[in-house]
Structure formats: C-alpha cells, structure tokens
Subunit: 570 residues, 2 copies
C-alpha cells in the first residue's frame, strides 16, 4: 500500500510507502489525520500550504457492494476548516485496487498554469492541461477518455474550479455513461484549481482486488452484508430507495414542513408533488430513460437514474434529492425538466448543486432573478461559465452572494450552504449543521431517517441523536460505504469489523472500531480548533432563530448550551 | 448628561439619564463598554440586535482645541468584532454641547424603509427619508441643510450604506463648506443602512459649552495644551503637518519602502513625488484653493486643505494621506487630480477610501481594470453608485472582492483592508494590524511616527511599541482628540488629567487615566472574544509572510508568539 505525493510547485511526483501513522485509516479518517499532521491549520486554503487529498475508504478495492466511494479532502475555502467530500463512481475501487491509499497534491504552480496528473501502473506524471483548459467537466472527461481510453478514470474540475470559486466541486467518472459523480461540497474544486490541477487520469488496468489477510472472513461478511441489503424492505427491488432513489423523500420532507422553498422562506412547497421521486420515475420510464442504474459497479441497491429529456436524450446521470430541493423548490421551480437542466449546468461547470442552489436563492431574494422563472435563473447561472463578476459571486456560494448583495437570509452554517432540510422543522439536522466539523452537510449526520424516533420539532434527544449520526457518518465516509447501505452495519457492527479484519488482519474488536470512528471527529474538531474556528462560527444564522417557518411556525430554538454539549460524550 | 435611544423597530425615541456604568466614558470607551453590556457579541452585524452608537469624546463640547471628534461604533460587518470610527467636523462639539453622551440606534425597521432622525433641543423624532433616499452624501447634506437650516449638523450615509455595503462609512458635516468628514472604517455605514437610518439632523442652537466642575482648571490646562500645539515645530504655522497635512508623509513612507503600490505589490512608487503633500500644497495654492483649513472649529493646527480642480472649483474638502496611498499609488495613479476625483466619488457614495482603494487594487489584479488607467478605474468605481453586482462587490471591500475574484493577495487583517503602510517594511504597523481589536486601522496604533525609535524593518521592540501606541489611540478616540494633537499629552499626561478633572470633577490621578485607557482595549478584546474571533482571524495574510516586498525584499516575519504576547502587559 502506497501514497502518491504530487508536488505542483516542482512538478514532481513521488511514491511513498504508506506512513505508519496512516496505516489503519482510509477515506475521511485518513484525510483528517493527514490534515492534522501535514497542513498548517491557519493556512490560506487556496495557497501553497493546503493539500488536496484523494483517498479510497478502507473497503475500496475489496469488492464489497456499495462500498467504493472516493473521498476528497483538504482545508475548505468555504468553511475555513476541515473538509471531506466523497463521490460514487469507480474512483474508490480503482485507487483501492492499485493499492493507492492516498494521492496527496501539494504546493502551487505559477498562477494560471494547469496540469493533468496521469497515472498508469507505477508511472505518475504531470502533463500540460492546455487542451482541456476551460472546458466543462463533461467535455473534459470525454476528451481525456478519447485520448487515454474510454475505460480510464477521470477526476476533474470545470470552469468553477479553475476560477477558484468556492462552490466548486470535483467530478469523477464511473462506469461508461455514468459521469455525474461529484465530491461536491466545501469548495474542494477550488482547492484543486488552486493547485493548477485540471484532472487526474488513471488508466486501466486498475489492478486486482486488494489482497486479503483472511479471504474467507471477508467473503462471508461481505456476502451477508449484501444479502441483508437485498432483503431490506426499503433497499430491495421493491423498496422505495431502489425505486425512487434519494428523491423518494421529497414528499415526506415536504409533509414535515422542512422542504427548502424560496430561499428557505417556507418549509412547504405547494407544487412538491411534481418533484416527487415517484413522479420522476414515471417520467423517466415514459421517456425510456433509465431507472435502477448504479454509481458504483456491483451495487445491489441500484438507486440511481438517468434523467432524460422529452426526446429521450440523457440530461444528467442521476437526479438526487438535494439537487431537487436546492435548485427546485428552493428556487420555486416545480418542473423536473427544469431541475435537470440546472443540474446539468452545475455538473458541467463543476459546481456543488447545494451551494449553488442556495446562492441562487439568495440572489433571487435580492432581485437578480425571479422564483420559478427559469429564464431568469438560467441567465444568472450561465454567468458562472462566462466568468462574469455575477457568475463568480454565485459560484462562490451562498455566504459570499449574501455579503455582496446585502442579504441577511443566507441559509448556511460554518460558511457552507444548508442542504435540503430546514433546520427549524428538522432540528436534529440543525444540531448537526451547527456542530459538525464539516459544517452544514447532508451526509454529516442527517436526522431525517430518525424522524419517527426523535420528534423533529422538539429539542429533547436531538444532541444525542446528532452525535450518534455524526459517528456513523464518520464510519461511512472512512470505509467508502454509501449512506443508503448503512442499515445492516448499524444493526450488526460486527459485519464491518469482520470485513476490516478479513482484509487487513487487524484483529479489531467492535470497541476498536467504535474508537476509530470517534477519532475521526476528534481529529477534525482539533483541526478546526487550530484553524481558529469557534462556536460562534458554527451557529445557525440568527434569522432562523427568530423568523418562524411555515407551516409549523417554528424557529430553530435548540439552546446554545445543548449545541455546545454535543461532543461531551464523544 | 443624557443618552438618546432610537428604536427603529417601533420608531420611538427616548431620552435616558446617563446610566451609571457609562458615567466616566466617552467616544470609543463608551462604545466599547456599551457594546459589551448591550450587544450580543455573536449577533448579525446587519441584524436587529446590533446597535449603532454615536458618542462625542470626553472633551466634546468643552471648547478644547482639536478635541471635537465624533465617534461612531457598533459591531463591524467587516471584521465581525468591535468597531469605532471617528470623524472631525462639528459632530463631537455639537453632541457635547447638547449634553448628549450617546445616541444609541437600536432594532430594525421593515426592509427598504428609511428614516431621518431629527433632533432639535429636547425633541427627537423619526421622519421619512423619501426625499433623500438614494442620494449621495453631498446631495443629502445639501438638501437637508436647505430644509433644516444651513447651520444644522447632518450625519448621513450614501448609496453604499443604503445597499449595506460593508465598505460604507458615515459622513458628517462640519463648518460651512466643510463636508468631507467621514467615520469611514469598518462598515459602520452599512450598520446605519441596516437600521434604515439615512441621516441624523441636529438643528441649531447646539447649546452652550458643557458645564465645568472647575472652570479654571479646564482653562489653564486647555490653554497650555493649545500653546504647546502652536509651539510644536511640526504642528505650528511653519510645521510640515500644518503646511501639508497628513499628506506630509508621502515622501517618507515611500522612502522607507512602505507605500502601498499596485495592490501592495511594491513598497515604493516611482511617481511618488507627484503625490507628495509639498506638491499638493503648490497645486492648491496655484489654483487658489485653500490650505490651512480646519475640520474642527477653533483647531490651532489647521492641517486641512480644500482641493480644487484646474478651474479652481472645489473637489474634496480635504485630501488625506491614506486616500492618496490607497486610491493613488496602490492603483498606480500618480495624478493628484485623479486621486481627488476618486476621493470625491468615494465620499459621495459614502465609502471608506481605504477599503475601496484596497478593493479596487484587488480587482485590478484580477484584470477588471488597469493600474494607472483612470478611465478603467472610474468605470469600476462608478458601478458602486449604480448598484451593479460589480459595484456591490467593490463596495463590500477588499476581502469580499478577493473572494469573488479568486485573488489571494488581499491586503487585509481581521477582514478589514490595510491602510497606507505595508506591514512588511513597517512591522510595528503589522503588529498593530494583527492584534488591534479594531483590525487593520491607521489610527489604532500607527508606528510610522516612531520609525526613528524602533527600526521599522526589525522585530525587536515592535510589540512593546504597538501596545504603547494602541493605548494612546484608545485615549485619543475616547477623548475626541485628533491624532496630530497627541504630542503635548504624551509629553505631559497631567494636562489631559487636569482637563478631565476640570470638566467632570472626578479627581482622577494619572494612574486612573492610564487604567481607563487600557480598559478600552480590554473591553474591546473581550467583545471580540465573545464574538468568536481568535488569533487566526487577526493574522497578517499568508502571502505577506512569504512574498518579499521591494525595495527591501522583506516579508512580515514577526513571529506569532510575539503577536500573541502584545497584550500580556495590558
């Protein structure tokens, strides 16, 4: 197992044996530790001292279903703290098979200089990026796959990342025609841009599955895990998550009054029915698009879709709940076709749809476009690609947009836009937004799934719930597991322990595993502390504590003392 | 002595006897204490919980020369911490004579609603601002003086404040034709805008001089003070500060390699001679403009000028060093006429010339205009008045402009643009920028005057010097004294103690006085701590620690430990 260091200042690459301190770590856990060890916490996130880290989860390359997500990390230019974002596609599996535990991109080239990182077997070199400079992520991956092979993995940024926009994400290819995989959050695309790295290309052959310390133990646990996923009523072939994907929750979030609507001005959208996953499935099937596709090869859940237009032409490789909420109801848009169009543009520019949807909502509140008026919204979003000042403002996310336009109602925590759950009516998410070292994030500890266990409108039990979910999120992001695939592991953690022990021969107990997951959060909180972030930076915006949200007319009223106590038992 | 509370939510005003805890305080000291007592430190600076405070210094209204500055304060939307900015003009004297220790503007009206606060004798009421809405500060004060009397005091914001731009300041009238007085820094104009307060009008009669506990003591000390100013070789009628005003230092700052040039890209400007105060005096005299005017009636220093154009028409009421540096050399501009033109626009829009000059420098680095090309720079600045997105970006200051445009080289500390001294070659100022609770500020503890005592390029002695200067600055800003007028007080603090005891009968010793001055900084640091600001927020930007500055090829290398130790002996 090895680590690839890429020095953008000297244009040198260097393979390293995996340092001892990083041995038991993968994905988000490795990123957190490496950041603590190697990145000065107060550094300029877009300067030479930040690092951009790609790392597969611990299960990456082991052939475990739904466990091949690729983590990307570094200091976030948006939150000023630690950031890990991950994506499906073939990245986690590819790096895992190649025995690459991490690619660490360091230093900084001259301004305006862009490179490609090309990896083939043991060869890793930087090439000029002139031919794809300025291209969107779709054209970039197409062009590079045409040049290096249709099966190669391409991880790239679009114009948003090149322009150092802090709403920029990183796109990754998957299996053929599965291009829409984005490690979207926290502005890591801008960090990649600041490194002058336009794309990473990894050529086939990707190597075999990683060697196992105890192959039988892996196989037994992995098979049991897969079978439990198949048997899960929500995940199996008749389950809502398989049938409708993440969009299955549109109706439920709307009914609970938590669906971001018109810049988080309401929790209920009168046209939410048109955005429901059930409706999306009908539309896609009627147009002969695809349902039940996968972001990761071999995934038994297959929750993905390929959204097509009226002519049956593919628009985006998958339409997800967060996108539907943030560029749909949050902008007063009720047409899935319109959502898909905005989604495509964000993907192509290399922008996080959550951050961008929130920024557009703020811009609409300032009068730069109109809710529900696609033409005005498209005109605004297209400026991102044109690199106008307005486009750069939008591409820099909700907080910057609010600052420039003088808008107080900016749905963000720790500088990062909130995902598709208003914290006033799903207070568990509010607690996570206001305490997670990752800032407001849909995967850092999402309480939506627990809405029947803990009253989403109450305060009682939220801090315990949030902590539990944040620890689970750390586990998922460190193993490469999909959020949807967590139920069997939560029901029987020994399954995960067995898979890890089978692969690595660590002889871990469940306690070791629990400790490792908690340690991720501890390391991240410590990095943020060193970066100078305090409770004041994490809080839910003032207006959400004072302006009641329809239909429940609730404010975010979890006391600061409760928030400050979340990690007391970490 | 009384305090006026103005509730913008209910549109009510209320006179209050001066609360006991504020009795011994004025100006900046009163603002700091009132903020600690009354403003939740983590509040939204542009929301209803922030307060905007006007307060004369302790000498305000006592008829002491050069001591009538008016302080304005509140939580800064730019730094996220405490902010006090002060201006000359007749504001400090007027409020002092009326026995008004503070006007505290609270709450928030409906969005888009603007009012005037009208004070005449004991009557204080809010009036609609419709007739001056959207006007620049010049037209606003002209119109209001036409309506309420040519002698009335008008304190106003321009479009920048109305648009909540965080580079907005607050303008105040002075004696007739003396309109250019600005409490410019920290975005307090945006706070005034967020309160929906377009202007404050105070009608004559302003009342008599404040009553004295011991008139003889006041007179003796005040006369001695004035005489010492007159006798000071720098301040007297043949002194450089009288002859050339603050612009007297252009040549010296350039020679020490600290003159911000082309976005702080160099410390030396090849055309600095054209910007010198000596040259400005010649130009003004040749055009029959005015030299030796005063911002405050009765000032014996009379350092001000009225800059006129080639036709002899007044452009700005005074051209000051910071403006010449920030919109002159920092933008590659060597013509005083051009500087004056930019100065006028900033004044009229109600923008801080320091923040705006720095923002324009950053924008030029990003390619939005060209150094030295007036047409391109004017086109950019004019957009502030038009309220375009580009204009709003510029008006929000250097940090926001850098964020939007993806520029790392942003000369700012604590979110606020640096004034006209590069901290790399005047390290004492760097220490102040990086530790003052006010952020990078030209009056918070300026080491330029001490350049012969402490080597500006060395580290030794800087932290002691900065602390000493910061305490002096707190004294000046709390008494209403002009920075130029400090030498007699520094040489003999008893002079100030006598004036205060004579006015108020406090029986203070020099120790009481010293403690009071230090207490200002302690209160401000405590407010900032509560606001969540940490050392990481205060630091000099990374690039200034790594990119050498011509001509001395120096970086800012004062160790963090030295910075963190500045207040150890406070």
């Amino acid at each position: 197992m090895k680590l690839l260091r890429v020095d953008m200042t000297s244009h040198q690459t260097r393979w390293e044996a995996m340092p001892e301190i990083y041995q038991h770590l993968g994905g988000r856990a490795l990123i957190a530790r490496l950041m603590l060890e190697e990145i000065p916490a107060t550094c300029d996130a877009l300067g030479p001292h930040n690092k951009l880290i790609f790392s597969p989860g611990l299960l990456g390359g082991a052939g475990v279903t739904a466990a091949g997500r690729l983590s990307v990390g570094g200091k976030s230019p948006l939150t000023g703290g630690v950031k890990e974002a991950n994506a499906g596609g073939t990245g986690g599996d590819t790096l895992g098979r190649l025995g690459i535990k991490a690619i660490v991109v360091e230093g900084q080239p001259k301004q305006g200089e862009f490179h490609l990182l090309h990896i083939k077997g043991d060869a890793a070199e930087l090439l000029p990026a002139d031919e794809v400079r300025g291209l969107g992520t779709y054209a970039t991956s197409e062009k590079l796959q045409a040049q290096f092979g249709a099966d190669c993995l391409v991880i790239s940024i679009g114009p948003a990342g090149e322009f150092l926009m802090r709403g920029a994400g990183i796109a990754s290819t998957g299996e053929r025609e599965q291009r829409s995989n984005h490690a979207a959050r926290g502005g890591l695309g801008a960090v990649m841009g600041s490194k002058g790295l336009k794309a990473v290309i990894i050529e086939k052959p990707f190597g075999n599955a990683i060697p196992f310390a105890d192959a039988k133990l892996v196989q037994t646990a992995a098979r049991a895990f897969a079978q439990k996923l198949i048997n899960d009523p929500k995940l199996g072939t008749q389950g809502s998550q398989h049938l409708y994907g993440t969009a299955s929750i549109v109706a439920a979030v709307n009914e609970m009054g938590s669906l971001p609507t018109r810049n988080f001005g309401s929790g209920i959208f009168e046209q939410a029915a048109d955005l429901r996953g059930e409706h999306m499935r009908e539309v896609i099937l009627a147009r002969e698009g695809k349902i039940g596709t996968r972001c990761m090869p071999g995934c038994v859940i297959a929750c993905r879709n390929q959204y097509v237009d009226e002519a049956g032409m593919p628009v985006v490789g998958t339409m997800q709940y967060e996108t539907i909420a943030l560029v749909g109801s949050n902008l007063g848009i009720s047409s899935l076709d319109d959502v898909a169009r905005l989604n495509y543009s964000c993907n192509d520019f290399g922008l996080d749809t959550i951050e961008t949807g929130a920024a557009l909502g703020v811009a609409i509140e300032a009068g730069l476009a109109e809710y529900g008026n696609m033409e005005s919204i498209v005109a605004l979003l297209n400026q991102v690609g044109e690199g106008t000042v307005t486009g750069r403002m939008i591409g820099n996310g909700a907080v910057t947009t609010g600052q420039v336009l003088g808008i107080r109602r900016v749905p963000a925590a720790l500088g990062q836009a909130m995902p598709g759950y208003d914290p006033r009516s799903l207070k568990g998410n509010g607690v996570t937004y206001a305490t997670s070292p990752q800032g407001a994030d849909h995967t850092a500890g999402n309480a939506f799934g627990a809405r029947k266990e803990v009253n989403p409108l109450g305060i009682q039990g939220q801090k315990e719930l949030s902590l539990k979910l944040q620890i689970i999120a750390a586990m998922l992001d460190s193993t490469g597991l999909c959020l949807f695939a967590r139920p069997p592991i939560l029901a029987d953690p020994q399954l995960m322990v067995d898979m890890l022990n089978g692969i690595y021969g660590w002889g871990w107990t469940k306690e070791d595993y629990d400790r490792a997951n908690r340690e991720v959060l501890r390391a991240e909180l410590e990095f943020n502390r060193r970066a100078g972030l305090t409770q004041a930076d994490y809080r839910i915006p003032e207006y959400m504590r004072e302006e009641p949200l329809a239909p429940h007319n609730v404010v975010f009223d979890v006391p600061d003392a409760e928030l400050d106590a979340v990690f007391n038992t970490l």
